[in-house]
Subunit: 298 residues, 6 copies
């Protein structure tokens, strides 16, 4: 006799059916950063989640940062970090190290995906001219080679997806003079999601999501229409680092991405749970006419 | 906090990863018959299983019989069933009803698959000249329009698979004079699996599998190399209806199918469990050089 | 010396040249019903005509009804036909028999086409989700599972034509709840012709065509512009069963079909003569700006 | 009522069915020369025949000579024809005129095909490097720029057929030094038929066919297996100009062409009758294992 | 040690880089006529230039006239040239000779291109229905079969380019009755360049270009915007044969060609120098918003 | 008048014609290392040469090392280089830095190619599983993560070439356990050239080529058949670092590469001169049946 354990397994797979259908051959951009990059177990989980998405018919793209690795290496070569008004300055030497460290992290992720039997190609924003940028203007002084995206050339991504590769991107690009710039990974993921007409954009970071009341951990909002998100900002309910993140989400929605997720990368398989169950992990931002479908009170 | 229930779900999906990879874009022929066709709940389960296979990247093909429906309709029109030496005679009128009933069952399955959002096309062995046959020679008298396959013309199946349809087939074909014949569904499934170079052929029926000792329910064999299967027959360990079934399995393996399964269709989701877990349901026949991979003593 | 008989044959073939050119790779939908389905000789002629169209480069599609076969089988299983206000009621049992009989007729036509060396695939409106419908509202009571087309999903037809098959369709579809409905074959042919952008739609039935004066057999109209057809209805010149047929013709023209023909299926090869000669058989309805080209007084 | 004349027409078309099927998408090379090029009516007939072949799904290729036109123009420019041992010498000036006249004839045929609504492209053996040749060695003196084919480069023909053009070829090629040579049209047709793997090669000329007894006009042979043809030559039954023609036929069969026809171009529509009826016109040479199918005694 | 000669060669190739990039996969139509057709050395140079364009990634098309060859042959066959108001009359006989001579020149060019290892196909305006025309109306009397282009059917050119052939065209077309007409090669080149959306159209003839002051050889204009060209005509600065040429240029620019060149074919490699250096040879006409980029005072 | 300077330029381009033809659409693998990577001017030249190859129709692939950059960075982070028997040990930390530095150099080359208007994609041997390797066995002790190629998976290169990108590769791969290894760039270039069936493999390094007499600079050998190269080694004429280089060349030739070049990267444009002139730069190794074509005594 087949015992209940196996029947339960079958049920879980069957439950995934409608979600697999909904995203078949759709592009999902995953911004991967924060603590989920530091813990080896979490890292494996994230990569397995993305590989599963690929195997059941999605077209995932990973955009990643370098997190604390960059700071560690800046220290290792004995450089003194410089700051202007509290912002780290990316001078030419720092930029050089940042690019090297990001490339190293990139190849590590490539190898992890390959070890699971899926073909990955790791590229930067320079390859195929993917990310064109210009110097970011900041108040209070020059913070160096920090760029903002001016154009995305998605051909290389379209070609890699067509040829069945999983693209893994680190956000370094060049300006019109082909000088190298570091780009914020959230911004890059957002610009790429728009350019490839992604169905979904997921930010995997150390944030649990958006709260109605930031002091009440039980007030996490599962789903937000884009206009509600804008109101939260203008009404001052969200603050600090959440504002640029939320603005990126809003921007992506307005440029055509269907659903943007702020996910807590510290929860194992949060990406998978988000996509394959009716249990929202973190916060989803959706279009004004988008249907809310999480069962919040389960 | 995400509760354990959800984390367990994620684990089940992750466990399916290697199985999804192994059969990506491979053809799986499912012979569907027996009790699994009579019970509405079991029927839904089977169809959901096949639809899931399709959605995660397999290329399933269903071959089905009509089971007890045919007998019911023969009775309904007031015909007297005829027998010769215990074998039912398929005269011209019976053949006509069989074809009609099979077509009705076929369209019912098509509608079920379509209702799950997957495109299905139901055909018989006549469409696109799929199944050519000749009158089956039986000892002890003429049993009428019962055919044996002489040629499979797989073009229609290749075309439907290329165009992303799930083909559902009922085994009625014609001979060189275009006379209509009924074909045993097991035989048809076997011939089709060979012609389309299927990776896997699964017989979903009312048989639990092959036993080492037919009187000992605990002696079910999970995996059999083809030479072991042949030995079982020659040594007289198996008998009755199992012999032709096992011979079909052996034949399919010899014609290039990688793995053939005898599954108990009365167990819910037996097909899914067979493919997505390391728990063998029923008996698998594999090539002499095939690797046994079930964990039998879990 | 080659005798005149052969030279005459060559002339006939050469005369067909401009007609072959005009419809090269164009889709022609043939609604096949009525007496032409009962007489074996006529049936062979119709199938040969359609096969010839296919071989000389047209893309024909057959839509057929079941005619008197359905009534015969309803009787055979001992069911009492029910009527409401003179309309036959298609209850669940009748629907089941209708589907079975239509499928049987379908496979018979498939086998006839295949026997002439052309690849045919027989499908219903359920396959590939071809015909979506809803319950037809009739005055005076519920006549059961009689549907009207709400949507045609032509992908399966486009795919079969691309792969060089001749599609043969019986008009049974499902509604949004996947319940089975019978659809009038004329209506189905009309909706399909519109969806696949057919060049031509031909109704092969027991009607000779449209008469200027229904009591004068010599007043058959060879060609009618669509506005003339509308005027004939509004002026009350046509009546009875001709009105819905003519409305279907008008509808098809308005949705883009170039020419619609009402042909007498009782005349051997009426379809071929209609297409390959300048002798109109029956009545052609054409667009307001369509050129009349029959030589009526030959 | 439809009169008999029309029904007879339909019958002729229906009779063509199996022949259309047999050659669907097959390449047919037609060597066109002799009287059939001089008479305007015959010319129109030949072109109509070839256009019909194209429209019903064959892939015809025309190879033509210039016939008496070349001699006429050689005279027109006041050149003295030179002869060596009875063979005309193609010196540089003659070659120049021959090429010009052949090109003129070629464009005339192109225009005739185009006027029937089919796309034709006229090329020489120089275009796309179709025909490479070397000087033909003859006994008794140098006869100038007369070439024999050393290589056929079929790419241009394959490309034109793929793009649905009817290629029309005049047999002028070049040698390894790119000097211009005239090539016998029969030889060129034969080499081309072999290179494109033609199903059929038809020589339209002023010869009725092969006779068992050249003095008995009733002894025309309808069909000859290739070994019978060889025996006819070795036994001395055929003579004169027939020998090289027959050798060409034998050569083509041996290189893979299925059937070669010697047709009397003076009979109207001989090509059509040959292909679409069971009445052989002229003589067909077929492979040793080819099936004879003419009804000779009709 | 590598001597300076070789390093200089490398520099020339490197200098060509931006020009090769600019025209990669762009269509360039070259009208080839005048003295450059008479001198054997110049002819070889022109063909080598065009072949180089093809090999480095351009898609060149040659349109050529017959120049003095036609007059020579008209004389050769003893015909008296006829004139009306100073214009040569192209009667039926002259048309016949013109077509023959043009075909001969065409095949000569084809052979030259082939001898350089590039695949060429020579066609007339009749092939594939490329050039449809009508009788040109001239004042002062009927000048015979001189046509003006009414329609270009570019399919044959698109197909040949796709299949990697270099098309070589002589400008003979037919009217609606399929009568043969001679077309001015400049007009034909212009119409073809428009129809295939050429990037560039170059007239290689015996004209050095456009002068500001026709009596001052040093006043050659390197680049002219289309409005400047129109002003030159309306102000009467240019005259004689230059007006129709310039009008053709203006017409082409207005129909979408990016740059039109009037090049002196008597200068060796003028086409190559024009395209691969910043030294304008002759005069370039460009769109009002086109950038002038020649270095005129080098 | 066009001055001589321009005519000379045209001549150089025309001279390149046969070389462009010979390598059209052929793959050329360029191993880039040594001094040519250090000098900015030389670096620009090399990149321009490769870009030109791409633009005129070749399919170049760059494989590069990191040269002195790696040692510089090892020092920068304060690591002590370790040696065993004079061989540098690549421990885990060194491997990490090597990968980072190679990635940095890679992206620099990508940006240089992109700045010239050509699309480049920089990858390592990990991407797409390009280079699988195992630990290199050396006598005298473990030198760490130095790998030798066991398998090349060329799919990613074929895909990038098909999509018109220029692939730039740094030779870091992984073993069966997905551990990272450094691979000698010469070895990697050689293995890749074999796997993609390159026409040509060029080693750009600080070696002038092979000498008949290593003490006589005038004895440089321009072309060597593979058997001659083997003899040079066995006869002891070459020594030191040249032996593994020459062995790589011989290996590549034996695996199907047509011509392998040892080029002095310190000579500007040596790659271009090698390919586009008849002046050999350095030494070419060719197959036993390969034709020597350099003009050595110019």
């Amino acid at each position: 006799m087949v015992n209940q354990k196996y029947l339960d397994k079958a049920e879980v797979l069957i439950e995934a059916l409608p979600y697999i259908q909904r995203f078949n051959r759709k592009i999902v951009v995953v911004k991967y950063g924060g603590s989920a990059m530091l813990d080896d177990e979490l890292k494996k989980n994230v990569i397995k989640d993305v590989v599963l998405l690929k195997l059941v018919g999605f077209k995932p793209i990973i955009v990643h940062g370098g997190g604390k690795e960059i700071s560690r290496w800046v220290g290792k070569v004995g450089m003194e970090p410089k700051f202007i008004n509290g912002l780290r300055v990316t001078d030419k030497d720092t930029m050089e190290i940042a690019e090297m460290v990001l490339a190293k992290v990139n190849k590590e992720l490539v190898a992890m995906v390959e070890s699971l039997g899926v073909n990955a190609v790791g590229i930067s924003g320079k390859d195929g001219g993917l990310l064109k940028c210009r110097k970011k203007q900041t108040e209070g002084g020059d913070i160096g080679f920090v760029g903002e995206v001016t154009k995305v050339e998605p051909k290389i991504l379209e070609d890699l997806l067509e040829k069945d590769f999983l693209p893994i991107i680190f956000p370094v690009g060049y300006d019109d003079n082909f000088a190298t710039y570091n780009i914020n990974a959230d911004d890059a993921a957002c610009a790429i999601a728009e350019a490839v007409h992604a169905e979904k954009l997921a930010f995997l970071s150390d944030i649990e999501g958006v709260y109605k009341d930031k002091d009440d951990p039980s007030s996490l909002i599962s789903e937000l229409h884009v206009d509600e998100a804008e109101k939260l900002i203008s009404d001052g309910y969200v603050g600090g680092g959440m504002i640029p993140k939320l603005k990126n989400c809003i921007d992506a929605i307005e440029e055509g991405v269907k659903r943007v997720h702020i996910l807590d990368g510290r929860i194992p398989h949060s990406l998978l749970l988000e996509i394959f169950t009716n249990k929202g992990i973190g916060t989803a931002i959706l279009r004004e006419d988008g249907e809310k479908y999480y069962n919040e009170h389960e």
